[in-house]
Symmetry: C2
Subunit: 321 residues, 2 copies
């Protein structure tokens, strides 16, 4: 059994190899640049953990992990175009550095490269894993579309927001675990519980993300506090406040979002605090964590094997950056 740190290191070593040839430079340099920006590599590590929950790590779990990480990075490159984002991991986004056409096409080829790693999988597992990978990839696109649709609406409910987050963020975490489990020969029931562990953990992860944007420690967070507030982003926190605030607070919030004064972040945070959003967010996160842990509990393997996944869950949800 390996712990989280060991697996991050083992994966990073394999992933640091070149994924692309040198030419055409215009096609491959943007992708190489983007991958060099790093990242926590959480999803491939989840694939390795899902695998090791049931068996010794299969070499194919690394191939599946590569596919998952490349797919994830492809979505980031294309999302950054759609969100007109300027920074990713503190560095210029691909479309800003190389132009939108380069970001588009280098993203496309990165997605195909992901499928090249899927194609390396042993025939016995290939069909099932390819299907799960496809379903998940479609869902991630649907989540991104819903996210963009929500930006233009002011009547987004909590339930549909959670559905969007589940598609945009959680299903890839869940599928990463299940793909590992499939490679480890897990039963269908165990696969489903592990998937649901990942899906609920992903929702808790996003709540933490939204929480940190508003209430994080600026020194540890590494980003400006209130970025979501600045952009009028619909987050768990904002949607909740719009539900529970009194008329006076709602009026002020709407006014702040429309006029964008220089002290907007400060004033929105004051309303967040007055509405006890921080405590509410922690409770909601706890609720999803409990559902996640129950599914982990229900997986029929020795508890000791579940330790790395518990450790991972703690890391994802207690993190302060």
């Amino acid at each position: 059994m390996h712990n989280f740190k060991d697996l991050v290191k083992a994966f990073a070593e394999k992933f640091s190899n070149e994924h692309f040839p040198n030419t055409p430079t215009g096609l491959y340099q943007p992708g190489t640049y983007f991958l060099s920006l790093g990242g926590k590599r959480i999803r491939p590590v989840m694939c390795l953990m899902g695998n090791e929950l049931f068996a010794d790590i299969h070499p194919d779990a690394f191939n599946a992990g590569m596919a998952i990480e490349l797919f994830h990075n492809f979505t980031l490159i294309h999302d950054d175009i759609m969100d007109a984002a300027t920074l990713r991991r503190g560095m210029e986004t691909v479309h800003l550095k190389y132009g939108p056409d380069a970001a588009l096409l280098s993203g496309d080829v990165m997605m195909i490269k992901a499928y090249e790693y899927i194609a390396k999988l042993n025939g016995q597992h290939l069909s099932k894993i390819l299907s799960l990978f496809n379903t998940t990839a479609v869902e991630v696109c649907e989540g991104q579309q819903m996210d963009m649709d929500f930006e233009k609406r002011d009547d987004v409910g909590m339930e549909e927001y959670i559905h969007m987050i589940s598609l945009k963020t959680s299903v890839l975490l869940a599928a990463s675990l299940e793909i590992g489990a499939l490679l480890g020969g897990a039963s269908e029931g165990n696969c489903k519980h592990l998937y649901e562990f990942g899906r609920n953990l992903g929702i808790a992860f996003q709540i933490q993300d939204d929480y940190l944007d508003a209430f994080g420690d600026p020194e540890k967070f590494g980003k400006e506090i209130g970025g979501d507030i600045k952009q009028n982003k619909k987050t768990f926190l904002m949607l909740h406040v719009l539900e529970v605030a009194n008329e006076q607070q709602k009026k002020e919030l709407n006014n702040l979002m429309q006029t964008n004064p220089s002290d907007k972040i400060e004033k929105v945070l004051a309303i967040f605090k007055a509405c006890n959003v921080d405590a509410w967010a922690n409770e909601l996160k706890e609720k999803y964590m409990q559902i996640a842990y129950q599914h982990l509990e229900d997986i029929a393997v020795l508890s000791v094997r579940k330790k790395p996944l518990m450790e991972l869950a703690e890391f994802l949800v207690q993190r302060d950056s």
Copy 2:
């Protein structure tokens, strides 16, 4: 054995079914719109023909054909963004009608849907066909990148232009045939000859495309004659003229391309004719057709089975629109 027309009809019937769910509308409507614009469906028909060359048509040849046609349409949607094209098949391009973000994401999901059809293939063939599909998809991206790179250069040689065309256009035709052949249980040698038949046919097809733009019959062509000339596109014809024209003609060509006068098309065509480009293009096309036919000849099946492929080749290369 089925002829070209029968196979086009058989495929079109299956392909006309819905490929996408209704929601999120913003994600799926652009793709549905684009597919409704039609197209010759040549690639999936080549897959069916490659299959029937060796055996009765396998139901999986339709699944592979769907994947190939969806992949091809995905590349068109994204290429139209990069080329800032306004019209496709006489109708608005996706990015113009729905915006660039919608074109980007609906293209992405169309590519994933292509892989969903690949995932339906029988396990016995899946691994090999997925690998060939991936390799081809990467090559198509490389071809598109080279095409964009060439637009910015004025020293493109004939050989590298043919290499670009081979990647951007021919390999998908070739792979369509080979995927069908693999499903028909063809030997490696036969697969390779069929692939090379398709690849060389694809080059001849592109020469015909470039030829029609300059020398087509406006009434049959359905597009304005000289569109490539108008855009200063590097085509087989233009690259050849830049090689063989005398100093006076070269000077005039460069001047026309820089100043874009209203009679540019007329004047460039006059130089094309003075340099006998039309006869040269027909000879070059004939050369690639002969290579293609030789590979078809070398496939070890009864000649009578090759008839539909001969018919297809005629159609692609003799067409006037």
